[in-house]
Subunit: 584 residues, 2 copies
Amino acid sequence: MNIDDRKSLINVLTGKDKADLAVVDACVFNVYTGELLHNHSIAMKGELIAYVGDAPGEIIGPDTVVINAAGRTVIPGLIDGHTHLADCKYSPYEFLKRAMAGGTTTVITETMEPFPIAGYEGVADFLEALKDQPIKIFATAPAMVSISGNVKIPEREIIKNLLSRADVLGLGEAYWQGVMQRLDEFLPNFTEAMKAGKSLEGHSAGARGKKLMAYVATGVTSCHEPISLEETVDRLRLGLHVMIREGSIRKDLAATSAIKDKGIDTRRLILVTDGVNPPELLERGYMENVLQRAIDLGFNPVNAVQMATLNPAQYFGLDRITGGLAPGRHGDMLIIPNLREIRAEYVISRGKVIARGGELIVMPGRYAFSHSTLNSISIPGKVRAADFLIRAKKTSGQVNARIIDLVTDLVTKEYITSLPVIDGIINVDINRDILKIAAIDRANARGRIFTGLFRGFNIKRGAIASSSAWDSSDIIAVGTNEEDMAYAVNRVHSIRGGAVVCVDGNILSEIPLPIFGLMTDIPLEDLSDKFKEMTGIIKGLGFPFDDPLLTLATLTGAAIPYIRICEEGLINIKDGEKLDLFPS
Amino acid sequence: MNIDDRKSLINVLTGKDKADLAVVDACVFNVYTGELLHNHSIAMKGELIAYVGDAPGEIIGPDTVVINAAGRTVIPGLIDGHTHLADCKYSPYEFLKRAMAGGTTTVITETMEPFPIAGYEGVADFLEALKDQPIKIFATAPAMVSISGNVKIPEREIIKNLLSRADVLGLGEAYWQGVMQRLDEFLPNFTEAMKAGKSLEGHSAGARGKKLMAYVATGVTSCHEPISLEETVDRLRLGLHVMIREGSIRKDLAATSAIKDKGIDTRRLILVTDGVNPPELLERGYMENVLQRAIDLGFNPVNAVQMATLNPAQYFGLDRITGGLAPGRHGDMLIIPNLREIRAEYVISRGKVIARGGELIVMPGRYAFSHSTLNSISIPGKVRAADFLIRAKKTSGQVNARIIDLVTDLVTKEYITSLPVIDGIINVDINRDILKIAAIDRANARGRIFTGLFRGFNIKRGAIASSSAWDSSDIIAVGTNEEDMAYAVNRVHSIRGGAVVCVDGNILSEIPLPIFGLMTDIPLEDLSDKFKEMTGIIKGLGFPFDDPLLTLATLTGAAIPYIRICEEGLINIKDGEKLDLFPS
């Protein structure tokens, strides 16, 4: 906000000018005091709130657009304090349409997805797509914990550069195991975030006691991973801001909501999505859905609304800009039926009505991503079925093999079993659900492939490949046979990124993801249909959980226990060390 | 905190090292959750907290200093979010001794007092005196609202420079009338504070409705001036952080404490002193006294302690450093009998016991102020009695004169009355309590004098002069005759600053204030005695209120209604305009 903006507010308040837009006669929720104030009006000039009170008087002139909100409640625009916009498959444009319609006016997203694939330039291109939109999108710089030695932690100068941007509010999530294993590499970038006075997103899934405290001592300021009341309270007590996640990766509100009955100060609780997949975004909406869920679970609406507005604004240093309805703040607000029904009849962002009754009035901007962003699959030539063969050190007999064993949709463990060797080769065993899993580097060690063994995915035919694989620059492929694996990977390559299901050489389903190999520009409705179709097909092939693409993406991730895979081999998250496919 | 500090904490928490200091078996108040946690221990390494929990185990080694706090409560070190250390007469050294003993471990002070007198170099010298002390002292840069045209607003480059310092947390208080009268001059410096992400201290005494909102729209982030429940709630609703003041200038806790019963969120309430005079500091203490008073007035101790710890820490961006007891924070804490009795049995600051049972264990540093700081009274030659003559435009008869009329100890109004002119001169009229009041510039327009008329101070003999005069570089002098006024001012000059009471050419009492003409280096006990002696003498001369030096100091101030005086003349605070001594 510049000096002229401030003066224009003062002109309105001192009678020299009139408001542009006013919401009158509403029940206004004051997040600062926790009060519901009746017969209140909010008057805006340009992008900003000039007046909030019960006697606007001559501030409203003949040219002021007036929304009569009698019988309705006004709350500040909603904030998602943690998401991964590059990891939800839809484009920023499609995301924005839905988020705006529902009443989200501020989003803080990770940028860790473009970085391993396209480096600083990729992050900059992504940030460009988020700029100058009808709602505010901020980012965190990539902390970049990866199991792959080919994915580098951003150089300190890159982090300094990103943190100096007004649209970068902190350093993104840095998983505790990785950080504690490589303190000397991570702490310099942490120091930059602290020097900049910006947030340092934590990720302490499963940590407790002194291990959790040691991680807190690194300087992280938040965690969005608690999945129980106990974990939530533990982290709050240690001074962390706790983000309660309700999105497609996990839904933690129900399991953590008991905190509302414990007399615990909620000022450091923040509602976040951590990412919402296409059907959920389309069908349930965005932060309005999360907030509604919190209220439905019994949170006092006063606290719940604070958790989606003031609390994240304070945490991210946005308190002067948004998060509450007061003079000088952006005119970001929702008109809803009442404090228990988070359904936006109007959405106002920066002083403009952007949606009414769920219909957009202002459209987001479409961004033309750079050529390299749209051509991010860099593998020299085609892969062949033979590239996925697993060779033992002997030619026959039995060998002990280490298998990634899926115990939930996300968590794996080590499973060691004896497998037959035939002509020096280990084969899949579909009856025992022992499949092949491969990671193919598409950006750094280009074309490097590691193939391992995988149990729990349970498909009985074909293969699936996807260029969306966490914390890496890999294509991840699971298969019942090498031919379909190769076909699927080559198809991902030829469509410049995407997810592909291939059975017996036929593509049964595919989602093109040409933007970094992670996002598509097709309409959300079409994407949602394709996503559901693919999910259904993979479940039809035998997959036992909800979201096969999520399960696959997390296999390269550096945060979720215990065994993961990348182009370099199998990795034990516990210590970051490589594990031999054939344990000695 | 540097990387090695963080690693040393991690070494303790991972069993590689032992704590240096531990407080064990205590009832620990967790400000983040609002919980009192029993049988908890806090272990420190170096300056920082490593561990907080109920199972420290092997963290405590044979060389760990252990304080058994069974039956006792531990709270974070107290924070004064707003004071004027250069305006309380004692030196930083004497202040620190008392503040440390009582349990204050962080102070944020204004620097507006040295600036008009000694410019940027004066502020820098003052900041130097506050550096590297056993407790943390931060500052705000001078906003500098003055009624005198000779006191300049700091140049934007000076403000940028100061705001770039880690020990400067914001731009200091900028009184609303002055700001609104000179927006073009103040808003550029406000913008610098916002760009730096630092606080912008407000001062909206008496403002309400749209005028208050217009001031909030300038970007100010706090106000420490509410004197009623209504004013407190009004400011909270507008998004300001409200500092409730309980110090020597005013005591607002009693009048505002009803907020505790209104169900209003207290997260944005902060307890501050705004300055404590020598006897009060000596006899009542510092923030421990303010916090105790809040609790005695019925604030829930949980909220009250937050108001003196977490709330100011969050507001000033110190949350990562202090304000709560968690890993990575400074080891700043008090051991007290219980949450309703704020009496420090131990004070720990940055991991060291600095006081026990009210006795200091670590001493603050003494600072040698610069030569120019110690020689700040720059008046060319001596003043003479004739310099205080008030000349009318005629030689005899009656003339209407405008008189500064004291209506409380701080607030004045205009009083116009007819006075006789004798040989072209207007004289005091002791019977009608019409005295002379003069402002003598000692640093900018050096030696410039304006003499006006004053009612309500009510002394019947002598004169008082003081080099402590708010928002100006003036010596302020009140007198029943010109000879004593000249004598007192010259004495202030010859002792290089101070306050002097002179009756019939005899000095009845004096307090030397050689540091900027504002502070002394004599022990607090002696200063307190002198302060009380002088106060008693001036009251004995007829002064009807409590603190004559405060009343005098505020006469040049730019914040308190309505009529003020400086070396340029009489000023109307309402519009900032000069008022003629002889109204037409």
